[in-house]
């Protein structure tokens, strides 16, 4: 699905071709990005300067129709031009940056999972739920319907020149929505990483619960409990039989040996991010030497660092896509308001009288619905990502409150966790998904827009349309 | 934690304070008027003498209990007779209110309205009712909060006592503004009464006099209560300021350019002082919260009333100015201006004192963050307080509806503008309708 969207956005020149390679054919990539805008500008200027091929210049287009069509066109132009300019400004650097950072994060996550022994349980890629597929299907069908409706109507009106009015009516909104789709994809990736981290934190939390025991029996208890945690019942039985047996430990050792070589490769790949690997190694081995075995709390420093990195990644993503959100939300707002206005004041009264008028009204309604769906998904995902990152801090607090054995035995862990929670406080003040600071992208935004829309609608609905409609001969 | 330990420390503290004062680069910053006062206030002095006038007004009108002064740092509950007096006054007030509402219903009351057109009369009606409602509510809330007020006063006095014992400093209250405001209120109300009676024509019955007089008294007393609340807030604010100033002595900006020995001796007393500061700060916060609880209902009501009055008066003023007939009634202009002046001043006072106190309360942690503690011990002390104050924003809320600070003033005035614009729109519609009718009749 993501692939389809990426191809689409490459095709209409919203993201550079070969976005992953920095040193690919520079000219080709960016010229590709310029084709569609040029086409669009040609149609837009053509319509506005030569007064042909536009709906407003048809004979049976009345004043209401002309007004709404002009609004739709200019709003689309505003949206598309800002979106394209920002996309050009973004360039490839962002994508390359994003991917490398993501790769770093994934490597660390993998390692942590290995340490926490989560990878055995769910080593496959995350299975998407039904809701995910349904959402995609829904969005795609909505878009296809919108495009189909628009192109069919235009084809009926203009014949083979339909492409020109189509470029100025539906295309800008499509382009804006696709960029939002890119944003959605990136945020969902981030949100997914947060979820994985939370799972790891949760694991530590559970272990802390199990091992909430006096210090004196720390070694034995933890050993036993830890083996209980292992998923296979056979091993569990073995553990209960022989708590002091060295067998599982040996197995762990072996596994660790096996795990080591790939990690070395990772280190070669990413020179910048492996110092923490080293740290963790020291630490783990120290633990092993002392017979406490490595458990998932050894992940903590890595997880903290991961959390920090993912947040930094979200800052970058938001910096790139946030500005594009602003015109999109504005366009969505205006289109929705006028859609409701036209639907209630015009279409209810005189539907079926004039085909063009009906077309424009429905266009408004369809696109307001489509853009609202996309905007809602954006808000929802941003909110989710925020909540996930908040949840990590919550879990860490929970761990701290339980005072697990590893924390009591070592001051370092306590300080680390405190440092993490404090850092999260700083992050909370510093960052939230937003559109260049104008509004926060979460559910409060819906509330504020709806209240604003209500007041504008009250004003708009006061306009007395009947005389105009009568004047156009639509009403008797 | 017992205050005795502080008593023993007293001498040392005093000497330290002397040293500090001489050392500090900005002596005026440390204590302009807080330290100038003589260390031992004479015992016979009444407490809160700065706001004595306003207190006596409120006591006489039964809004505040007529408390007994036990010592110079404690007030006791009122005696039986005084309590009975307050009770009696409140009863009279309620009786008068009922009488007023009754007489408003009779045609006699209708004469009160300087009528221009239909909407204005409605406005005046609503204004009157709001005023009555606000004052009645004030009386009720005050009657209920008698004990609470005395408790707040006692808390403040106890704090003063401790400060006096610790540092030999009697905190002044700096509440001279209360008398000015009292005068302003009295002048405005008297002026309004005068204009009203002047404008009325025909025979004026005693009932009308009572009506007008009581209306003015209601307004005046509500306003006086607001001034009293602001004065209380100012008193708390000064206490907060004292704490902050004390703490500021330890911040690193004060320590620049001192030798290490001096630094050490300077910081030595920090743990003790910090203990005192934390405790005082907490107590002040408690006082602040209880003041908020006591007054917030009245303040909400007053804000609503005041908002309404300001809007209608601006509207009237606008109508007068843009009157096409060229007849500007100077009485109405003066009247509107007096109301506007009074309410704007009160709103400003309230929001400013709330804002200042909130600001002082919140700034303590910021100043503490500036304390430079080299050793672990100091850092732990600082950390403890800072951790406590994370996300603990103190606010003076209007019954939990919204926070009152400087931005409230801004919000009120922007809301006034919006409503004004809408009202003017209505007026224009009315005008055009009127003209149409006129033309039709012609």
């Amino acid at each position: 699905m993501i692939q389809v969207m990426n191809w689409l956005s490459m095709a209409i020149g919203l993201i550079p071709l070969n976005r992953q390679q920095l040193q690919s054919n520079f000219m080709l990539d960016y010229v590709m990005m310029l084709i569609m805008p040029c086409l669009y500008l040609a149609s837009y200027l053509g319509i506005n300067l030569f007064h042909r091929f536009g709906l407003p210049f048809l004979d049976d287009c009345n004043s209401v129709c002309r007004l709404s069509n002009n609004l739709f066109m200019h709003l689309g132009a505003f949206l598309y031009v800002t979106v394209i300019l920002l996309s050009l400004y973004r360039r490839k650097q962002f994508f390359v940056d994003f991917e490398t950072r993501l790769a770093e994060i994934d490597v660390i996550i993998q390692k942590c999972r290995r340490v926490a022994e989560l990878d055995k349980m769910r080593s496959q890629a995350v299975k998407h739920s039904v809701a995910y597929h349904f959402t995609w299907l829904f969005v795609f069908s909505v878009f296809i319907f919108a495009l189909y409706y628009d192109s069919r109507e235009l084809y009926l009106t203009f014949g083979e020149y339909a492409i020109i009015p189509f470029m100025v009516s539906s295309f800008p909104y499509l382009a804006g929505s696709i960029i939002q789709g890119e944003f959605i994809y990136h945020v969902s990736v981030i949100s997914n990483r947060f979820e994985q981290i939370n799972k790891l934190f949760e694991k530590i939390n559970q272990e802390a619960r199990h091992r909430h025991a006096p210090l004196t029996v720390f070694d034995i208890e933890s050993e036993g409990k830890k083996q209980e945690l292992k998923p296979t019942p056979a091993e569990k039985a073995a553990a209960t039989k022989a708590i002091f047996s060295n067998e599982p430990k040996l197995a762990d050792e072996l596994k660790r040996q096996k795990a080591q070589p790939p990690k070395q490769e990772d280190e070669d790949e990413l020179n910048t991010s492996d110092e923490e690997d080293d740290d963790i190694f020291d630490y783990n081995d120290g633990m092993m030497g002392e017979n406490t075995d490595s458990t998932s709390e050894a992940n903590l420093p890595d997880l903290f660092k991961l959390h920090d990195k993912i947040l930094a990644l979200s800052v970058i993503t938001n910096g790139e896509f946030g500005p594009q959100c602003v015109p999109y939300m504005a366009a969505c707002f205006v289109v929705s308001i006028f859609g409701i206005f036209l639907e209630t004041k015009v279409n209810f009264i005189v539907s079926g009288k004039s085909r063009l008028l009906d077309y424009v009204t429905y266009l408004y309604v369809i696109w307001s619905f489509t853009t609202m769906v996309v905007a809602y998904i954006v808000l929802r995902l941003c909110c989710n990502a925020n909540n996930h990152s908040k949840q990590s801090a919550m879990i860490v607090h929970e761990i701290m409150q339980k005072k697990p054995a590893f924390m009591l035995s070592n001051d370092l862990f306590y300080n680390k966790m405190k440092s993490f929670t404090l850092q999260f406080l700083h992050w909370e003040g510093y960052f939230q998904f937003n559109g260049i600071g104008l509004f926060a992208l979460d559910y409060t935004f819906i509330f504020s827009t709806v209240s604003a829309a209500t007041s504008y609608l009250i004003v708009l609905l006061q306009f007395d349309m009947t005389s105009i409609l009568r004047n156009e001969g639509l009403m008797t | 934690m017992s205050p005795n330990s502080w008593v023993i420390e007293m001498a040392a503290h005093k000497s330290r304070l002397q040293v500090r004062r001489s050392l500090s680069p900005h002596p005026h910053a440390l204590g302009s008027d807080a330290f100038v006062r003589s260390p031992h206030a004479p015992v016979g002095n009444p407490v809160f003498e700065d706001i004595g006038t306003i207190l006596s007004v409120l006591k006489a009108s039964g809004l505040l209990p007529i408390y007994e002064q036990v010592s110079s740092f404690e007030v006791g509950p009122p005696t039986r007779t005084n309590e009975f007096y307050s009770f009696f006054v409140r009863g009279v007030v309620h009786a008068l209110t009922i009488f007023n509402i009754y007489s408003l219903m009779t045609p006699n009351g209708a004469k009160l309205f300087i009528s221009l057109r239909e909407t204005d009369n409605v406005n005046q009606w609503i204004e009157l009712l709001l005023c009555i409602l606000t004052y009645t509510l004030t009386v009720f809330v005050c009657a209920r909060n008698t004990k609470c007020i005395i408790q707040i006063m006692n808390e403040i006095l106890k704090l003063d006592q401790e400060v006096l014992r610790q540092f030999g400093v009697a905190l002044s209250n700096n509440c001279n503004f209360s008398i000015k405001f009292l005068l302003l209120i009295a002048a405005c109300q008297a002026y309004i009464i005068f204009i009203r009676i002047h404008v009325l024509d025909g025979v004026i019955t005693p009932t009308t006099y009572i009506l007008i007089g009581f209306y003015a008294i209601q307004n005046g007393l509500t306003a006086t209560y607001i001034v009293f609340a602001s004065a209380l807030l100012r008193i708390v604010c000064i206490r907060f300021q004292f704490v902050n100033r004390l703490l500021n002595g330890y911040s690193y900006a004060q320590l620049l350019g001192k030798s290490r020995r001096q630094l050490q001796s300077h910081m030595e007393s920090f743990p003790e002082d910090s203990l005192f500061i934390y405790r005082t700060h907490n107590r002040l916060l408690r006082i602040y919260k209880s003041i908020n609880e006591c007054c917030s209902l009245i303040i909400v009501c007053f804000l609503g009333y005041s908002f309404y009055t300001v809007t209608t008066n601006w509207y009237n003023l606008f109508v007068q100015i843009t009157n096409n007939k060229g007849v500007i009634s100077s009485h109405i202009m003066q009247w509107c201006l007096a109301w506007l002046c009074l309410h704007t001043a009160l709103l400003t006072l309230l929001s400013r004192s709330c804002g200042a106190t909130t600001n002082e309360a919140n700034i303590t942690s910021q100043i503490l963050a500036r304390v430079y503690g080299k050793s672990k011990e100091f850092q732990n002390i600082i950390d403890k307080f800072l951790t406590k104050s994370i996300k603990q924003e103190v606010q003076f809320t209007a019954y939990g509806f919204f926070a009152i600070d400087n931005s409230t003033l801004f919000k009120i005035f922007s809301a006034v503008t919006t409503y004004l614009v809408i009202l003017i729109q209505f007026k224009q519609l009315e005008d055009s309708k009127l003209e149409e009718q006129l033309q039709e009749t012609n």
Binding site: L71, G289, D411, N415, H426, L438 | Q428, Q439
Partner: protein, 531 residues
């Protein structure tokens, strides 16, 4: 600070042209010659008198302007709806009020302004001691760009309006030139604020960069360490669990001292003892504009360093010293920000009020002009849509740039805590964690929020609210106008007993009106997001 030799260039050095210009037009009263020679802002009685004279002159000229153009307005009151007239009346003096606020505030603050820049200089020195350099050179460039932009905008608006819309056959029409004075003076004053704010932001960013540098260098060091000593490490006992990090940071400093030389050009001079080489190096690479007055090289006898020498030279303490100092400098910058905000709070409030009112009024008058209604003569620029757009861009650009800068500055100040924690995480040392936690608690309590007199904070959310406010007020105003026109038309049609003609008129009118309406809506939506 008893130190005489300047270690860092004062910020004011970059303000030469701006100060000269503002002195001439009477924005600032401070002494010119002292500024030339010593780069300080000092009180000056002559300057004050000069400035008051200028203020009186401007007020006089402006009143003359209003008087001479008011004849055109006589007809306005008679013909037009009262609304346009009242708005015009209300806004006539707002530009003058804004200018007077700026100048009077500058008069009152003339002593404090100098102190402010002195404090910034002290901060620069302290930052320099922590080897964190701030590049001032782009500030001069910024000032120049802003000045040029201002002059272009002002001249363009003035000349186009004069040529297009003013009847220049009359001699008195030359007075129209006066109409540009208030905005120009206001802009000059705001350039001071904006540039100083930008300088503060740069200082915050320098602190953040220093902290991040610490992190990256530590990372580099660790990779180097692991490349070397991978084998012996894994078999350390549990007791030395916390030992390796300390060992790391031990070496880290060595490494930094070494690295300081070759990366020296980036980070300025290295440590305390081996000065000469890195200084020369950095001098060359920076060019003369940034750090010229730095003489090679006094050992700077400041108390902080002394203390560091006296205390143990173990590295946790050294880092602690450094972090502590950075934290204090951060606080000092926050304080400066607050003080600056305090100095300019009334001018900013008046600017914001001006921006809001003028933006709304200009759009409303534009609407009136398209409906062929007459508008107040002072707002004649609204008769031409293109000039209106330029005026709106200029006014909103001023406001939005200030808001944007304050927002960015407070974000940069918040960023410091995050960078600090990164230091702690990367070193992974118990002692350092404690230090970091302590300092981070302190940083949480440093706040730099810019507000206009406490009425509203200057951040982007306010902008969002304001743009909504402008739109709704505009719609309300236009509705008024529409209602008034319709009422008038209705009366006329009633008088002429010609219903059908009136309805046709109203109907065609509506089509045009709503098209302008949506134009206005889109412009208000567009402008905030573009600038």
């Amino acid at each position: 600070m008893s130190q005489v030799t300047p270690m860092v260039q004062p910020l004011l050095l970059q303000f030469q042209q701006l100060f000269f210009l503002s002195k001439v037009v009477g924005v600032l009263p401070q002494d010119l010659t002292k500024f030339r020679h010593k780069n300080v802002l000092e009180k000056s009685r002559n300057g004050m008198i000069y400035m008051l004279g200028m203020l009186a002159l401007y007020v006089g000229l402006y009143n003359l302007l209003i008087y001479s153009f008011s004849e055109e307005d006589r007809t306005l009151k008679a013909t037009q709806s009262t609304l346009t007239f009242v708005i015009g009346l209300f806004l006539t003096y707002i530009g003058l009020i804004m200018m007077a606020t700026d100048q009077v505030t500058a008069l009152f603050n003339q002593g404090k302004l100098g102190e402010l820049y002195e404090r910034i200089r002290v901060v620069d020195e302290r930052l320099y001691r922590e080897q964190c350099l701030v590049n001032n050179s782009c500030i001069a460039k910024r000032i120049r760009i802003m000045l040029v932009m201002t002059i272009i905008f002002e001249l363009f608006i003035l000349l186009t309006t004069y040529i297009e819309l003013v009847d220049y056959t009359q001699w008195l029409s030359l007075l129209w030139m006066v109409s540009a004075i208030p905005t120009f003076i206001n802009t000059l004053d705001k350039i001071w604020f904006a540039v100083s704010l930008f300088a503060l932001k740069e200082r915050f960013e320098a602190i953040n960069a220093t902290l991040e540098d610490l992190v990256t260098e530590h990372e580099k060091f660790q990779t180097w360490l692991t490349g070397d000593a991978d084998a012996p490490e894994p078999h350390t006992a549990d007791s030395s669990e916390t030992q390796p990090p300390q060992y790391d940071s031990n070496l880290e400093y060595l490494y930094k001292e070494l690295g300081g030389i070759d990366i020296g050009s980036l980070r300025g001079s290295g440590g305390k003892n081996n000065k000469v080489a890195p200084i020369a190096h950095s001098l060359n690479s920076f060019g003369e504009s940034i750090q010229t007055p730095r003489k090679p090289h006094q050992p700077n006898p400041n108390p902080m360093m002394n203390m560091a020498h006296e205390s143990e030279l173990s590295n946790a303490t050294k880092v602690e010293e450094k972090l502590n100092n950075l934290c204090q400098v951060h606080d000092e910058i926050c304080e400066i920000g607050k003080a600056m905000n305090g100095l300019w709070s009334y001018p900013i409030l008046s600017l914001m009020a001006y921006g809001f009112l003028i933006f709304t009024a200009q759009l409303y008058f534009l609407y009136c002009a398209t409906r062929a209604q007459s508008i107040p003569s002072l707002f004649r620029s609204a008769k031409n849509p293109f000039i209106t757009v330029i005026v709106l861009v200029y006014t909103s650009g001023k406001c939005i740039y200030l808001i944007y800068l304050s927002w960015k500055t407070s974000l940069a100040s918040k960023r410091t805590g995050i960078s600090l924690h990164k230091c702690g995480v990367v070193a992974d040392d118990n002692l350092l964690y404690e230090i970091v936690n302590h300092l981070s608690l302190k940083l949480l309590n440093h706040s730099v929020d810019f507000s206009a007199c406490g009425f509203f904070t200057l951040d982007m959310e306010t902008l969002y609210g304001v743009s909504g406010g402008i739109t709704s007020y505009l719609i309300i105003l236009i509705q008024f106008n529409l209602a008034a026109q319709q009422a008038k038309d209705a009366i006329q049609s009633f008088n002429s007993f010609n219903d059908t003609a009136g309805l046709v008129g109203a109907a065609t009118e509506f089509g045009n009106e709503s098209s302008t309406l949506y134009d206005l809506v889109t412009t208000t939506m567009m402008t905030p997001s573009n600038y």
